[in-house]
Symmetry: C2
Amino acid sequence: MATVIAIANQKGGVGKTTTAINLAGALAEGGSRVLAVDMDPQANLTVGLGINLGHVERSIAQVLGEDHVAMPAIVVASPTERIDVAPATLELASTEVELFSAIGREFVLREALADGGIHEGYDYILIDCPPTLGLLTINGLVAADGVIIPVQTQYYALKGLTALVKVINTIRAKLNRDLRVLGLLPTFYDGRTVLAREMLEELRELGDHHVFNAIVRTTVKLGEAPLTGRPITSYAGSSEAARTFRELAKEVVELGQA
Amino acid sequence: MATVIAIANQKGGVGKTTTAINLAGALAEGGSRVLAVDMDPQANLTVGLGINLGHVERSIAQVLGEDHVAMPAIVVASPTERIDVAPATLELASTEVELFSAIGREFVLREALADGGIHEGYDYILIDCPPTLGLLTINGLVAADGVIIPVQTQYYALKGLTALVKVINTIRAKLNRDLRVLGLLPTFYDGRTVLAREMLEELRELGDHHVFNAIVRTTVKLGEAPLTGRPITSYAGSSEAARTFRELAKEVVELGQA
Ligand SMILES: Nc1ncnc2c1ncn2[C@@H]1O[C@H](COP(=O)(O)OP(=O)(O)OP(=O)(O)O)[C@@H](O)[C@H]1O
Ligand SMILES: Nc1ncnc2c1ncn2[C@@H]1O[C@H](COP(=O)(O)OP(=O)(O)OP(=O)(O)O)[C@@H](O)[C@H]1O
Ligand SMILES: [Mg+2]
Ligand SMILES: [Mg+2]
């Protein structure tokens, strides 16, 4: 059985896609087989892992929508060894509207992943969520065993945490008893600024949840890697950012064995 | 008649709220009366302009929802002279769901702004949109005369522009004939990196739309200002960021007279 991890935060631009791609890179480098699922109509994960959107005929939109295409039928290999992608396209935005009136609408992704041997083929399934708390993110959280919450070391990002944690608690109570918060991942950290240090301190003082030891610092390399369609572990394997995601992967693996 | 400007981009974290608040600051400093409308359930604009969310009893959610409260009834003064706020609360997320089945659902904000003398009381109405292309953003675009699109000088942000421009063109054709793109605003620019310079170049080469001369550089001061509830023009009036938003305000005023 694969471990399913959602990467979620309704605050925009906090590094959800960057975390999904580079955690996948570090896990794959360590020998794990990873399926990266793109639940965001922006399809940044799909593009960031080197898939040409123009070549994607069927995507998550067809799996979740009325066509009920089986998940294995849409999965494509990425250019990075041991990483496959369940791609998104823009059409996914209208699928979310279709889901509103569907029966069992929160379980559609969970059921699709339980289908056709997906779990046997992978060690980890990572789900990249869009910047909302709508049905696409809820499907990601219902399908997951654990959730990683990237939190920018900025004021608005910290303010938004309470709302997200409430939604996660509601999902655990009503839809997915196993869902646990694996941890909060500090992102866009710039140790030279007092703001980042204060926000990191505040994040750690919240106390309710584990804060990963791995801290993702601001670095242009994480902005460059998506142009190559490769995770940081292949684009800049000896960089600090690559080391950070290897550290995160190690923490995630250890948490899974707990 | 007030000039209504939406600040929109479905890509998360590109500086929509930062642009709305600080453009409001620069316009108000120049003597204009500004109403800042928060259409994002995250309520970052409301908080960033110094309104205490705990004290907000009625918000945009009540104006757009079934209660049909009049817009003037929810507007509150901000601590900054000549800036008022139409606040959001988390409830706004469920209002978006209610709107799905409402008649004329795309025009609700436009009609609410046409109500009760709002236009006479202000020179500018700025609308901060959430990071989606759902009904809340569509309402913002239908209510607006012009739209400012903040675009991070990063790869994913540029990729997402085509989808946004298509939606804007559809809205102009079907719902709001006057809507025009005032310009693309480069944000999070760090001139020391090749990436930012390349992305800025690419943005300018797209050619379809005006790119503002004002370029918002990465600066910790724009991350600090929200903690004070004041725009950058009061928090750090002599900073480069304040000068940038004054320049943007000047360009916006000139475009309005064109
Ligand atoms: N630590 C970092 N340093 C520098 N740039 C980064 C870092 N992390 C992410 N980026 C870049 O910042 C942008 C925002 O990150 P990303 O797209 O991963 O956030 P997101 O939370 O997935 O956004 P959205 O809410 O739109 O889905 C991207 O262009 C990415 O390449
Ligand atoms: N030029 C800048 N330099 C440094 N920090 C910035 C800059 N612009 C914005 N920020 C900070 O970066 C974060 C993201 O900006 P902001 O919240 O305005 O983006 P947004 O597009 O409104 O996000 P969302 O998609 O969640 O609505 C905020 O914490 C803000 O304070
Ligand atoms: Mg993303
Ligand atoms: Mg915002």
